[in-house]
Symmetry: none
Subunit: 513 residues, 2 copies
């Protein structure tokens, strides 16, 4: 018998003998005894392609997840389908505790980002999960799936689309409930399960579902299990997200491409015009100079400021990892920078570069802007400010390509398309009683200080839960920060999955009162 | 019999009856009688893709052109191949006139600019020539190729890569010679033909060819048949060109693309850095602020200044045509602007725009610059000035992608690749005796005043002819000015092709003495 298995036996004996052993230890022991079974089931789930628009496979995913829930004794397992046909449904289930006055809903999403299989590392394929004995970009190599009884290292990683974002959330939540139940324990509150199927497609029908199933989805708290733990490796509890809005800008110059020799320096160059416009939007300290851009911000509370101060700095670690030595706003930390409204150029294009380059003055130049918003910003007002600023720089702003009459009237013409999919930031107060209980529940699972984050830099449409259900949301992520979320070679470290199960179980044990 | 054909018959009869009919009228009559045949042959030539690097198709082009020459009774038809393997050869041929003391070489190029087929108008494809009954951007529509005997309108246009730049030159020269010969006429001097195959690729091996075939290419004058006639529609004779030099700039930021929510406004954005750099290169009056940029310019002679004054202004016409109402350097005319050194952005690219856009901070941003040079500028000195300016803006300038050590040392990193295919401007004195004869020959073909231009805005490596052969060059262009040269929807108006044939024939009739 291997030493590891002797240790495991001792743990199991200890669990059963000691009356003092608390609920979490029993959960951990159960997980350790069942890692192989959990892994096999997770691999089967990851083998089902999960693009939100792939209705055939979405159905296979929901059937599989409903079976997982039924096997675990979860009640009322069903699909919550929006009225719009073809939209991916959410999977729902519940465990009601007699006499409980509180309800907590556990959220994760089972759909994943689009994939470019050719960009994945050799031997990997997005929907054929593989195990590696470490991160592939740091000398890890692919290994065979273990036999039952083999030892399983917490440093192993599973490579597959959805491995971390966010089938890991679905699995951790359901395994946590199984571990509780099979060790003879019960949730402290009523718990409900809500697994969304089109988060990566923009949650287009989430509002429909929330609106349609209002009574079923009433709760005291939504636990959002999505995203990575802190870059320091510590667990984190996140109370908010930034909002998001997009804009597409196109500067128009000559009607047709011009020979740069015959007309260069006479005919206006749209790439130069766009460069001057974009360059003017930020000063040399990286601050956006658009009037009102930093107005409307709801200041952080004293509690939030204190939390911000205690977040372990990762700036130097991240700079080394990214190969940069300076940042856009000198003097501001990463955490400070992402708690401001931001203006980022996602892309920029005019004419051609490199081997396709030719000696022309292009006809147009385009840029896509991504505006992130903090609490207090209104996404449409922020778009409006950018548009007004552009007009102040002498541009005639259109929402269409210019016609001849417009061309003959205005010197500088720009088309501005405001993305209609924007939304505002969301922040749950850190001093709500239930917030304290969430923090305490997560802290119970680790000896390290849990990182408390007032707001993520990224965006999720959490405002919808408040808008339709007056629901409070707190994000408790579990994935490793280097999980390649959204890109190729998405992966989850097993230790993060195992610890995630304990975190979710601890949250399920929050008492009703 | 259609009226057109009756007219044609009358013309032919007139040509044969009248002893007074001069040589040019006979050329015109021959062309009119052979438009259909000329067009068919030209379409076949345009159907062969002509990127200089596409060796297989370059060979098909040269074979086709050599056959055209042989069919016309031109002697010594052969390829002039540079020693460098894989480089596109020039096509050569000659017609020697007994007793002639003078030699004129007719130059055109058969290769074309790179193409982006998706950007061509619906129904067009760069190497499937199509006829239209007018300019497509001014209500012209595509029409079928005529049957033999159908009337052919001079307003029709041929759309294809190379239609104007510069297979039109090849065709006009060879058709002019055919018309001379078939109407029983002879050139006034020895004439030679030289069709280059990598002009649009920077004439990389032209110097090799000129050097290698020096005795064969000795001449009194090179007639360069390339580029458009004056925007007023008048024929022009051009005595010089600007020089040209290229630079490729790439700004580097984070090593991997970053989530714009989690890192936006903290991690540097290369598109913004590049925009600020490009924007800073010109002031609000469109003047380049790079130190020394306007130094070294050789002033125009009194004769050149007088010619410049007499060039019909086309600024207002061009603005209306291009759909613009202002120009880059306020107060300077087109002619004044293009007689300055210029800096033009040919293309600019970072991340993605439009439907491919995603919420990232790109890793790099690139721009291709085109520097035009006037007499006196040295192309490498001009590149050096731009590079020094970039360094002064705080960039660490590399000629390669940065490695980890460079990334950890420098805040702002740019890769600058100086194009090695640059060359200086060239200007032939307007008062050479042979210059007068060229002007007279072109003037004979038109009742309008021929426009005399000391220097084009565009560039050709004419300095090479002087450097290797002490050769004089004069440009006699034939294409319509709105030919979309270098861009999508390149085209030639048939009237320009027909008049070009007469112009070339008249030049071939310059007397030897």
């Amino acid at each position: 018998m291997k030493p590891y298995r002797i240790f495991l036996l001792l743990v199991l004996v200890a669990v059963q003998l000691s009356a003092q052993t608390d609920g979490l230890s029993r959960v951990r022991a159960y997980r350790k005894a069942n890692e192989y079974v959990f892994l096999r089931e997770f691999f089967s789930l990851l083998s089902i392609p999960n693009l939100a628009a792939d209705t055939v496979n979405i159905k296979r995913n929901t059937t599989f997840i409903m079976d997982m829930m039924t096997r675990r004794g979860i009640g009322q397992v069903r699909l919550l389908s929006p009225r719009t046909p073809g939209a991916a449904p959410a999977v729902y289930g519940e465990v009601l505790v007699p006499g409980a006055a509180r309800t907590i809903i556990f959220y994760a999403h089972y759909d994943g980002q689009p994939v470019s299989p050719a960009q994945w590392a050799p031997g990997l394929s997005p929907f054929q999960p593989k195990l590696a004995n470490g991160a592939l970009e740091r000398k890890g190599t692919l290994i065979h799936f273990p036999e039952s009884g083999d030892s399983i290292s917490p440093d192993w990683r599973i490579y597959a689309r959805g491995a971390s974002d966010d089938k890991a959330g679905v699995t951790a939540i359901l395994d946590a409930y199984e571990a509780l139940r099979r060790t003879g324990q019960h949730p402290g509150c009523n718990i409900k399960f809500f697994f969304e199927g089109e988060e990566e497609a923009g949650s287009t029908h989430l509002s429909e579902i929330l609106d349609q199933y209002k009574p079923l989805l009433a709760s005291d708290l939504w636990i959002i299990c999505d995203g990575p733990v802190h870059q320091s490796g510590k667990k984190q509890v996140v109370f908010g997200v930034r909002g998001d809005a997009h804009m597409e800008l196109t500067v128009f110059a000559s009607r047709r491409p011009l020979h740069s020799g015959h007309y260069g320096n006479w005919a206006p160059n749209p790439a130069l015009m766009l460069s001057k416009l974009l360059a003017s939007m930020k000063n040399d300290s990286g601050r956006v100079v658009i009037p009102g851009f930093y107005e409307d911000m709801v200041p952080f509370t004293a509690r939030e400021k204190e939390a911000l101060r205690q977040i372990p700095p990762v700036d130097e670690q991240m700079k080394a990892e990214l190969g940069i030595i300076s940042t856009e706003i000198p003097g501001l930390s990463l955490m400070e920078s992402i708690n401001l409204p931001s203006l980022n150029i996602n892309g920029m294009q005019s004419g051609h570069v490199g081997s396709n380059s030719n000696n022309i003055i292009p006809t147009t130049a385009s840029a896509d802007l991504d505006l992130r918003l903090v609490l207090g910003n209104d996404w449409q007002r922020q778009q409006q400010r950018v548009t007004e600023y552009i007009a102040k720089q002498g541009f005639h702003v259109l929402d269409h390509d210019p016609d001849g009459a417009e061309r003959s009237q205005y010197e500088k013409i720009i088309k501005v398309i405001n993305g209609m999919d924007g939304y505002n930031a969301q922040r749950t107060p850190m001093d709500l009683p239930i917030a304290f209980e969430v923090i305490r529940a997560v802290q119970k699972t680790t000896t390290e200080q849990v990182v408390l984050v007032p707001s993520l830099g990224g965006s999720l449409p959490l405002f919808l839960f408040e808008k339709y259900l007056q629901g409070k949301t707190i994000i408790v992520p579990i994935a490793n920060h280097d999980n390649n979320q959204h890109g190729e070679n998405e992966n989850i470290r097993l230790d993060n999955l195992w610890k995630g199960i304990e975190t979710m179980a601890s949250l399920m044990m929050i008492e009703s009162r």
